[in-house]
């Protein structure tokens, strides 16, 4: 493992909604996966930057050609602007992490959705070329499992914005049969919630970003702990609306596909280990913050003899931290050299 002393090792969770980085120096950063370029010279003078990233881009979106370059956890196909946006996000994250200046070599492990196509991994490689010195791309749920050392007889359910990844850890690097990726995830909940709110409150004006915020703050399944009341403009006037039922229905839409996938993967586990896996289901990703989700999944497992569903402590950084763990454990020979 020679040379690790001069190396900055980083783990990156490249997410549809947010991307996070964890570094060997202990730094952790997260940015919203948005990139915006000024739409014209006026905007450029107002913004005073050639490109804005993350929250800054969202806040100034009226002045920007705004891109959310990842769709279902993958780089959108066929758009050079989106590829450029991914480069900006990754460059920004690595820039935030790189305290040693340009001389410092960077090794990166990047987590991507479980069933990412090879062509998209290759695209990611191209993007990373010249940006880091060495690269390993891993399945995101595998990274989560590795990070918390849930390596054997566990199931990771990584509920992100664009995808939900399921992965059974059998003490080996997960194969196709060990993993599933669903597009039922945070974004699909947002879309449904927006539709339900619009149906019930047709006069209310809102954006998908507001809906996302409501879900993240109040998301729940099962019984509500109280009314979910939010404020949004109606004909220009701030108005309070009750969206309890809409939030519940939207979040509840995850339960059936999650349950089905969970049971499907469990059935493929060797019978003697199924009970252990059932009692070691781990929720990760920001979807794990939906109140009552673990309990609902446990109800589904009860039909099979019971199970235990828990959630990672830090869903925002669990993926990036797992990638960092892999980076720190990997030998020199494990890395793909990425010098341009």
């Amino acid at each position: 493992m020679s040379g690790k002393g001069q190396m900055l090792s980083v783990g990156i969770d490249l997410g549809t909604s947010q991307s996070a980085i964890a570094t060997s120096t202990g730094a952790r950063h997260v940015v919203d996966s948005y990139v915006g370029w000024p739409v014209d010279m006026v905007a450029k003078k107002v913004i005073k930057k050639p490109v804005l990233i993350g929250t800054e881009a969202l806040e100034n979106r009226s002045l920007l050609d705004l891109h959310r370059p990842l769709e279902q956890g993958l780089i959108k196909e066929g758009s050079e602007k989106d590829i450029a946006a991914v480069k900006e996000i990754l460059g920004h994250l690595i820039g935030l992490a790189g305290e040693g200046g340009k001389e410092q070599k960077v090794r990166a492990v990047v987590g991507v959705p479980a069933e990412t196509l090879r062509v998209n991994k290759q695209q990611l490689r191209q993007v990373m070329r010249g940006m880091v010195d060495s690269l390993i791309i891993v399945s995101e749920p595998f990274a989560v499992a590795y990070g918390i050392e849930a390596l054997l007889h566990t199931m990771i359910v990584d509920s992100g914005a664009g995808t939900t990844d399921f992965c059974v850890m059998k003490g080996r690097y997960p194969t196709e049969e060990d993993q599933r990726t669903l597009t039922k995830a945070g974004d699909s909940v947002d879309d449904l919630l927006a539709k339900l709110v619009a149906e019930r409150h047709p006069a209310i004006q809102f954006t998908i970003h507001m809906v996302r915020g409501w879900k993240e703050q109040h998301g729940f399944v099962g019984e509500p702990q109280g009314k979910v009341v939010v404020t949004a403009p109606s004909h220009g006037k701030a108005t309070q609306i009750d969206i309890t039922e809409e939030v519940r229905l939207a979040c509840q839409s995850l339960i059936a596909p999650y349950t089905e996938t969970l049971l499907d993967l469990l059935a493929a586990v060797e019978p003697e280990y199924q009970e252990r896996v059932r009692h070691n289901v781990i929720l990760a990703g920001r979807g794990s913050r939906i109140r009552g989700l673990a309990g609902e999944l446990e109800k589904a497992l009860a039909d099979l003899g019971g199970g235990k569903v828990s959630a990672v402590e830090d869903p925002v950084f669990a993926g990036a931290a797992g990638c960092l763990s892999i980076a720190l454990d990997a030998d020199d020979s494990d890395w793909e050299k990425m010098t341009a």
Binding site: Q122, V138, F142, G171, R172, G295, I326
Partner: protein, 342 residues
């Protein structure tokens, strides 16, 4: 509500085995990256999917590490190499007291003692349903080929008077143990599992290999066996019982003879068309589907989809007929040799 999970040490039950397990996982991740870089199809950890590794590795590791201890006591060291005319029985011939003592070694008796006739054959088309097996970028799948070959072979065997059963009739997924159970329930005389290989060491490689149940001398498998054995939870007594039941019965020799017969005809037939195809030989390995069967059983890797040329040929009906005919002739030749007493 969910409990928080996140402290690494709290999740790890392995103690000192942690590093080995992590190393294996990392190697898998690196291999997955290499596949993508080299534009190879996604891996399926080919062998591992077919084997109940905790059991198999327990046996393998015990063979590797404990053979010196166990062999003299079990009498394994006294075994002569099997010959075509020899069957191995699990009882000591002519010694009733010994027959009931599980600690005593099995003894060889002449094959002619057993009036063996091959009547029922169970054919097992590998994979099925959601388990595609190997597949080419053009969508040709192992599960489809194996089923088609099994049907062609069944037709030939049926025509020759055998009672033939297929473990699956269509595109359905079957657990390995279900396949073995079906063969056992049908009281089959032979079990032939049909598969198509994938060689990781190059697209140009073409070869045929046939497996029968037994220990492996593959150093990679042995290395893994040592690691896996620590996690198996099997006591030495379990391992010994397992090995006695698996490796000491007469069916191992018969399986080897069947495998040799099938392999010989497959290679001969395919080389008529493609002389460059490698004879990768008859090999032993503890495949679960073979472990659980109670009759002579083989697993034939009749071709390899990793080769572009083989993939092209496998799409042709004539080539599939050729493979089915070779399998048929292999089974026939074995059957005749058994009927003649070796």
């Amino acid at each position: 509500m969910a409990d928080g999970v996140g402290t690494r040490s709290a999740r790890l039950p392995f103690g000192g085995r942690e590093d080995r397990l992590k190393r294996r996982l990392l190697s898998g991740a690196v291999e997955d990256n290499l596949r993508a870089i080299e534009n190879r199809p996604p891996g399926r950890l080919y062998r591992r999917r077919r084997v109940r590794w905790p059991i198999a590795f327990a046996g393998l590791a015990a063979l590797a590490a404990g053979a010196l201890v166990l062999a003299p006591r079990l009498g394994w060291g006294d075994f002569a190499e099997p010959t075509p005319g020899t069957l191995v029985a699990t009882v000591r011939a002519g010694d009733d007291a010994a027959a009931s003592d599980p600690d005593l070694p099995p003894t060889r008796v002449p094959a002619a003692v057993f009036p063996v006739v091959v009547r029922r054959v169970v054919l097992d088309p590998g994979h099925g349903g959601g388990d595609h097996g190997t597949r080419t970028p053009t969508g040709l799948t192992e599960k489809e080929i194996t089923l088609d070959l099994a049907r062609r072979l069944a037709e030939r065997l049926g025509g020759a008077g055998y009672e033939v059963t297929l473990t699956r009739q269509g595109d359905e997924r079957l657990e390995l143990r279900e396949r073995a159970r079906l063969a056992n329930e049908r009281a089959a005389d032979l079990f032939v599992s049909i598969h198509v290989n994938w060689f990781e060491d190059g697209r140009a490689n073409r070869g045929i290999e046939t497996y029968f149940l037994g220990p492996t001398d593959d150093p990679w498998a042995t290395r893994l066996a040592s690691a896996e054995n620590l996690e198996s939870g099997y006591a030495l007594a379990d391992v010994k019982q397992l090995l006695e039941s698996v490796y000491s019965e007469f069916r191992q020799d018969q399986s080897r003879a069947l495998a040799a017969s099938v392999q010989r005809r497959l290679v001969r037939s395919v080389r008529e068309l493609s002389p460059e195809v490698a004879d990768r030989g008859v090999k032993s390995a503890p495949f679960l589907v073979l472990v659980d069967t109670e009759m002579p059983a083989i697993l034939a890797e009749v071709s390899c989809l990793s080769s572009d040329e083989e993939a092209r040929l496998l799409a042709e009906s004539d080539y599939r007929d050729r493979l089915a005919q070779a399998l048929f002739e292999g089974i026939q030749a074995y059957s005749h040799s058994v009927r003649k007493g070796g």
